[in-house]
């Protein structure tokens, strides 16, 4: 299957916006923060038509930034994102409606002063997908599609629960009739019993509407459940990529293995408490990342080469790639325990 969304060598930097005075002061040797954070660093990735790509990592790893670059919300500093061969952004502006986003917090992502029906119809009217007189019926159709009662279109966001708001946010994204859906932690702020409802809705919609999607989450069990392939990020770089069962079944990167080992498992079979593996130390500051492989200060397999040279991304098999000098040693250690398997 060929690439549908192509992310080519994308980097995104965030730096201070220096005033002229600060720039002069900096030249003269004053202490002005001029370093920038490479939130996303040389990411090359493709998403195939109809597939769900999971994007996992800890906070600050750049997964949301990458999601926003793919969605055309943030322009990349370097590199390009194309959809079906056409660029998502041109000269810093989004030029397609075929990519839409569902955000994490449905309390912040809906305008509290707009009727939810207007929120959903605003985009489709502006882009000619429906007309003002027909908008009500159009929105009602999408409300039904996501499991909301169409008579609620005249209500305001505060009249809905978190799960219902997330359904509205999904309806807003889908009403633009996108080909690609970027979901940035769509269930992280929901209660456990509501999470399952939204995940089921996501699975049903992506299948029925033949959507291609990028599913960003820190929750490995959710990503494992919904994704076909998964990309693991650490400090802005993708360290491992491959089919979800293979990556989680036998991680090639020590970070993937450690991340997986840190997830608390539901203890069902043992009357003893499990001992979970912990990763030593913390994620380093992205302002001054370590040399070589970013993970080497925390990595149990690290050798001299890891602090000296940044590992290149290399294929593990036809479907998998990893950026690690010692992936063969990691893979010899065999499968990581999967979350929930106990």
């Amino acid at each position: 299957m060929s690439a549908f969304v192509t992310i080519d060598n994308v980097s995104r930097l965030f730096g201070p916006n220096l005033t002229t005075g600060e720039k002069i002061a900096s030249r003269l040797g004053a202490k002005v923060e001029t370093r920038s954070v490479r939130a996303v660093s040389d990411v090359t990735l493709s998403v195939r038509k109809g597939e769900t790509l999971g994007l996992v990592g800890e906070s600050g790893c750049g997964k949301s930034t990458l999601g926003r670059v793919i969605a055309g919300i943030l322009p990349p500093t370097t590199g390009t994102v194309t959809l079906d061969g056409k660029p998502v952004m041109l000269n810093g502006a989004k030029v397609t409606t075929r990519v839409q986003t569902v955000f994490q917090d449905p309390f912040a992502s809906l305008d509290p002063r707009m009727k939810v029906g207007d929120t959903v119809s605003e985009g489709p009217i502006a882009h000619g997908l429906t007309t003002k007189p027909e908008a009500r019926a159009y929105v009602a159709g999408w409300f039904e599609r996501v499991g909301l009662d169409p008579v609620w279109v005249d209500r305001y966001p505060h009249q809905f629960s978190g799960g219902q708001r997330q359904r509205i946010a999904i309806a807003r994204a889908l009403a633009m009739q996108p080909d690609v859906l970027i979901c940035d932690e769509p269930v992280a702020s929901l209660d456990v019993s509501i999470q399952a409802q939204i995940i089921n809705l996501f699975l049903e919609l992506t299948r029925d509407l033949d959507l291609t999607s990028v599913f960003i989450s820190h929750d490995l069990s959710v990503v494992q459940h919904v994704s076909d392939r998964v990309a693991v990020m650490y400090l802005g770089r993708i360290v491992e990529l491959g089919p979800v069962a293979q990556v989680f079944g036998n991680p090639a990167h020590p970070y993937t293995a450690a991340l997986f080992g840190s997830v608390p498992k539901l203890v069902l079979d043992a009357d003893e408490l499990v001992r979970f593996d912990t990763i030593e130390g913390e994620v380093p500051s992205p302002l001054s990342p370590p040399s070589g492989c970013y993970y080497h200060p925390r990595c149990p397999l690290a050798t001299q080469v890891c602090s000296a040279t940044q590992p290149v991304t290399q294929p593990v098999s036809d479907l998998r790639a990893v950026a690690c000098h010692h992936f063969e040693r990691q893979m010899e250690q065999g499968p990581a325990r999967s979350p929930g398997a106990g």
Partner: protein
């Protein structure tokens, strides 16, 4: 049997709002032995946090503990004056909150804050206080603790801040710590480190803990027993592994079944229909009845806690549930 560190009986906390009486905690009872960790699990609005606040007498108006008893090492807490309570908070019972940014004072160094917490209950020399503070920071895994005493909260990462909050909670070796979602805001790798340490600390110091969480997996790897809350009530309680492997209450069973880890990847998850009820307008009878697929006529009246003695591995330990038609086949003898 020795006296429990914490004994809660029929704890009831209501909020008297303009819209009506919100029964946030409604008849909660449990015992906690020395060094025991109990997981208090529930969704938002289930009353788990208000239960935690009630234990320390931290419920503010319009909320009030209406009835029930909280006994800490045999002393009744609910009838104490504010002053008497204050002399126990932080010394005999302390709390760790979810958000370490909100609990630490940004204007004071870590050392100054720990000193305040020490001075509140003990007269120690400056040197002794500093030594105690540094010792606790080391114990919770903060490197070069002595130097870090002079740092401000903003100089710490989220995980490190939560460790500081834990160290402060541990300063006076309290017999009970109430931890309200202390790892929810943290990354999994940091969460794992902290869970691991808390388990060791509880075993080492004999501190009993109430660990409040919405995450079944987190508490299952930490707590020896669980209490599941729904709409202000404990609907099921028992030893962790027994309760998770063999849930009796349909809500507990539904929560476990809805976890992605319980399903085949890509297949629909088992879901509990509907949403949690508003505590302002609870239906009469079992609060879970409107969402329950096993509902019968009897559910129109409120079920009481059915307590049974476990046999086999956890013999002697109680488990219980509030349901007229529990899931699974009860094989225990009624107590």
């Amino acid at each position: 049997m020795t006296e429990p560190a914490l004994s809660v009986t029929n704890l009831t906390t209501h909020f008297f709002t303009r819209a009506g009486v919100v029964k946030a905690v409604d008849g909660v009872s449990f015992d906690l032995a020395k060094g025991e960790i109990m997981g208090l699990v529930g969704e938002s609005g289930s009353g788990k946090t208000v239960t935690g606040f009630s234990l320390l007498g931290l419920v503010d108006a319009p909320g009030r503990i209406v009835s029930g008893s909280v006994k800490l090492n045999g002393t009744e807490l609910t009838t104490l004056s504010d002053k008497q309570l204050r002399s126990r908070r932080g010394r005999e019972i302390s709390m760790i909150f979810q958000d370490p940014i909100a609990t630490l004072n940004p204007m004071l160094t870590i050392g100054q804050q720990m000193r305040l917490a020490i001075d509140a209950h003990e007269a120690l020399s400056a040197r002794a206080a500093e030594a105690r503070a540094a010792e606790l920071l080391t114990q919770v895994g903060i490197p070069s603790a002595k130097a870090r005493l002079r740092a401000y909260p903003h100089e710490f990462s989220g995980g490190m801040r939560q460790r500081v909050a834990i160290a402060i909670a541990l300063l006076h070796r309290p017999s009970v710590i109430v931890a309200d979602e202390p790892t929810t805001a943290l990354d999994v790798s940091i969460q794992a480190q902290i869970l691991y340490q808390m388990r060791d600390l509880a075993a080492e110091t004999g501190t009993a803990m109430v660990w409040i969480s919405h995450d079944l997996a987190v508490v299952s790897s930490l707590a020896t027993k669980l209490a599941v809350m729904y709409a202000g009530r404990i609907v099921e309680q028992g030893p962790t592994a027994t309760l998770l492997r063999d849930p009796r209450h349909p809500y507990t069973a539904g929560l476990i079944a809805s976890l992605p880890a319980m399903a085949t990847p890509g297949m629909p998850l088992t879901q509990i229909p509907g949403t949690t009820p508003s505590l302002l307008s609870l239906p009469p009878g079992c609060p879970f009845a409107p969402r329950c697929d096993r509902v019968i006529d009897a559910c129109g009246t409120e079920p009481q806690m059915t307590l049974v003695q476990n046999r086999g591995q956890n013999s002697g330990q109680n488990r219980g549930w509030r349901c007229f038609h529990p899931v699974g086949q009860p094989d225990e003898a009624l107590a």
